[in-house]
Symmetry: D2
Subunit: 152 residues, 4 copies
């Protein structure tokens, strides 16, 4: 029997990335459900896992002074609340890849229920904050999972 | 000389609410600038201050089981990064008031520079999560500061 | 091949609970390493997982108005920093069980390196904030994993 | 009439620094009161304000690669909960100054009630994470507000 806990980690189901989170105390507020800003933390964990699986080593790029991804814009819809201990799956997929940015859609689901959706664009930025072309290898990596916009 | 620190608090300049925040360690991430989700915390502090000045006692409404405001949707643009110790002003104004929701625009500014903008709708929801008409007195309070959409 | 992502979850290795976290952007600050308060969020996730495995349904207890656990005191030592993408294991064990409180030790490890340690006491509190005896069944559940204080 | 909101800011009352925070949604969890880790964020804001008033420019030191302060250890006691909209004052004072570290006490108060106390040591660390002597000018600055440990 294994005595190693699973590190958090998602997987690709075709072009769609799936990542599981559980709702903890830290995620809730006094209304009893997940605080609206915390979905952004979940979505970002899922995107970091996408990078990890695509072998995009963002930490090395930051340490080398090459640059990092930053959210450029984001449209959110809050449809249903998430409660303590809920098991949530974050679905993420890429719908457009440009020289310096990637467009993604993300959904937070509890079973079949969509709780929150995000449509966003992340841009690659140099340490001075200016947009920069992302490394070509990374562009190619994103292209392996590029797909069309889907209904939920 | 006063030995009481100012509690954080904003004010209305006509229909526009102004609220000051400073960038602390907790707000930044390893890229050296404010983590994108943390603007949502700043915007929410400013909206709470709007309620306070309009005499909308949300804590009493929650404790009485009447309901609470929740973000229904939100569109964000990230234009420039905010750095440690920056003094930021959040501008907030209401552009539409319905029976069960209020539409607002919020901008985070450093001096004249717009760092981040949000356009959002908050809905009043019953404790069971369903939309509910907001108290008429609160509707009236919001109407005293209703204004048109502005360019930044 | 499974297309379901693992939900985060720990396990007991004897009386010691192990729970894995990964360091994400949200956890870091501009110094490039994990913000000190965020270890408390990781430790709390691990404690929630302890409750889950011991079949202590805290959400039901909150919704029934019985009470909830709250941290009463905590002593922290920060030994080494945690960096983006690090795989961290949280070790948790119970060293004392009283009528209304439980004492625990928690360590955050990266491989063999201890990054942060916490010694803490959680108390069961009624909805009005007063200490309350924890349900006897829960006391018994904690006793199944009671152990002595260990060196790291 | 001023149309500029006050930026958050504290003041020294003799050697004791006072800093005001208000409890917002983001600070609470589903138990209805402030999430335990969030006191650390408030304490850190107050310490940042201490540095600001003592003319210790930590951002410049980080950007110059000199180093930064990091929490080395911390002992917390949670005495009473803080609720939404509560006005809290953080009292901070320095009780010991060494070559590479400073010891501080911090209390969160609501009126006369002590909600949470912290006793902590911050260490100056080089970018590689190793302890480093703090700049002598900064040592001197801290010494201007050095005081003895007080009862609450």
């Amino acid at each position: 029997m294994s005595t190693q806990p699973h590190p958090p980690g998602g997987l690709f189901d075709g072009p769609v990335h799936l990542y599981a989170v559980r709702v903890y105390y830290e995620d809730t507020d006094l209304s009893g459900v997940t605080y609206h800003a915390n979905y952004l933390r979940w979505f970002e964990r899922a995107r970091s896992d996408v990078l990890r699986l695509l072998k995009i080593d963002q930490r090395a790029a930051i340490e080398a002074g090459t640059g990092a991804y930053a959210v450029a814009d984001m449209a959110l819809k809050y449809l249903r609340p998430a409660k303590l201990d809920d098991d949530i799956v974050i679905r993420t997929y890429c719908t457009d890849i440009r020289a310096a940015s990637v467009k993604m859609s993300q959904h937070a689901l509890r079973g079949e229920d969509v709780l929150c959706t995000a449509s966003l664009r992340i841009g690659f930025v140099a340490p001075d904050g200016r947009p920069r072309r992302q490394p070509e290898k990374w562009c190619d990596a994103f292209k392996t999972v590029l797909t069309e916009e889907m209904s939920q």
